[in-house]
């Protein structure tokens, strides 16, 4: 099958590659670009581990072809840290609130939460839970993931983070 030349912006850098049309975007990111932070979990559009941000949308990159991303602007987990290399508010939140155990779902969770906070900077707990309902975690029971996102929202909004009483 003839290959197609694709160009796109990933984490601020122009990248290109030759791909078969059937190559999934997640494979292009992991194999061609060697960015393995984006994970492949279920491969069936359920788990959200492969979530990347494309032109302002959270997308499961196992359910889109690399050729469809031609000309788009993509952010993966590798592009989430602050420009100076320090942890972003979300990354810090996941660290401080123990928002992960095995860590497999974390890249997808953080990239999804990044877009959620762009669209809704002060989400309620319910809005956070619905906002990450396309991302599955099998370790934490979500409690600390929700807290991590609340921590990040508070930090971004410049207010003190108070943990809800349990």
């Amino acid at each position: 099958m003839a290959k197609t030349h694709v160009t796109m912006k990933v984490n601020g850098a122009e990248v290109e590659g030759l791909v078969e049309p059937r190559m999934l975007l997640v494979h292009f990111i992991r194999e061609n670009l060697q960015m393995t932070g984006t994970h492949i979990g279920c491969e069936t559009t359920h788990c959200g581990a492969c979530t990347v941000d494309i032109d302002g949308m959270s997308v499961k990159s196992c359910t889109m072809f690399a050729v469809q991303a031609e000309g788009s602007d993509i952010t993966t987990i590798e592009g989430i840290a602050n420009a100076d290399g320090t942890l972003s508010a979300l990354q810090e939140g996941f660290r401080m609130m123990h928002g992960l155990q095995c860590g497999f779902c974390t890249p997808g969770m953080i990239v999804r939460a990044h877009r959620l906070l762009q669209e809704n900077p002060s989400p309620s707990e319910q809005e956070i839970r619905m906002g990450i309902s396309g991302n599955i975690c099998r370790c934490t029971g979500y409690q600390n993931i929700v807290k991590a996102i609340q921590y990040a929202a508070a930090k971004i909004n410049g207010v003190e983070f108070k943990e809800a009483a349990e």
Partner: protein, 287 residues
């Protein structure tokens, strides 16, 4: 999971898309949001030799109020429906339903056109479109035509779309001001298809039902319009006896498949419960 090989086409106009599909024949499939087709391709349950991606086609997106109708371009995503003030104002039942479709990531990609054109009995929008009296605009090699949602669905994945035709526009008449609405969907988890779901649009006058329509999702190989169930509540105040009659009339036309969501009798029973709840909630909202 890697799909079979295919050639990728990205036409810029509806005419080009239609011509490609006509020229390439049975081996070609149009690609909208891709969140039904791409998973099927990964499982090799679909192996099209050509994909005609509609993302590059101009003019297939957008929500417009046109008199007493709202038109929605086929490539408008569920996320865009949720973000639309016009939808929230004129067709709030679409907003309520879109929120129950899949999950946030899928809603950024999944389109209204794909949802209604695919013919999957589990998709939520078709029953809604039947209850609202929507029409679909189809473009094919012989030009454009309009088909009512109520006449579009012929079987599971089998619709009025002819080979080479694509669905380009959904037109929905705006329900009367002060109408009540509800979409009740029973599902096992976020992202699941309905075990049973019911869409209700109702207008009330003096505490009684003046007009009513009811659509059913995933309770037959096609979406259903439950006309007898709607008739059973007209002129009533939705008292217990009338609600029971409506649920029974709805259950009488259901023939769901027995699957992981439950046996036939269970799915019919909860189908009746969804009709009852949707009627009650819609009536509460009506002014």
């Amino acid at each position: 999971m890697i799909p079979g090989s295919f050639s990728y086409h990205r036409p810029a106009t509806v005419a080009d898309a239609v011509k490609l599909l006509a020229d390439l024949g049975d081996e070609a499939r149009p690609l909208a949001g891709g969140h039904s087709l791409v998973p099927m391709m990964k499982l090799r349950l679909a192996t099209p030799a050509h994909l005609v991606d509609l993302h590059g086609v101009a003019g297939l997106k957008g929500i417009k109020r046109d008199g007493n109708k709202v038109t929605i371009g086929a490539m408008t995503t569920q996320h865009e429906l949720l973000a639309s003030d016009e939808i929230a104002k004129s067709l709030p039942i679409l907003h309520e339903t879109a929120l129950l479709i899949a999950d946030p990531q899928v809603r950024y990609r999944g389109t209204i056109g794909g949802n209604v054109a695919n013919g999957d009995p589990g998709n939520d929008m078709p029953a809604l479109m039947m209850a609202l009296g929507a029409t679909y605009q189809l473009h094919g090699p012989n030009g454009a035509r309009e088909v009512a949602a109520g006449e579009f669905y012929q079987g599971a994945y089998f619709t009025a779309l002819e080979p080479g035709e694509i669905l380009t526009l959904v037109t929905v008449p705006v329900p009367a001001a002060g109408h009540g609405y509800a979409y009740e969907k029973l599902k096992r988890k976020v992202g699941d298809y309905a075990t049973a779901a019911a869409a209700v649009v109702v207008t009330m006058a003096g505490g009684k039902v003046a007009a009513c329509s009811i659509g059913l999702t995933n309770l037959h190989e096609t979406p259903l319009l439950a006309a007898d169930a709607a008739k059973a509540v007209i002129g009533t105040s939705l008292d217990a006896a009338s609600l029971k009659k409506a649920a029974q009339a709805a259950e009488a036309i259901m023939s769901p498949a027995a699957d992981a969501r439950g046996p036939v009798e269970y799915r019919k029973h909860v189908g009746g419960v969804m009709v009852t709840r949707a009627l009650q909630r819609a009536a509460q909202r009506a002014k």
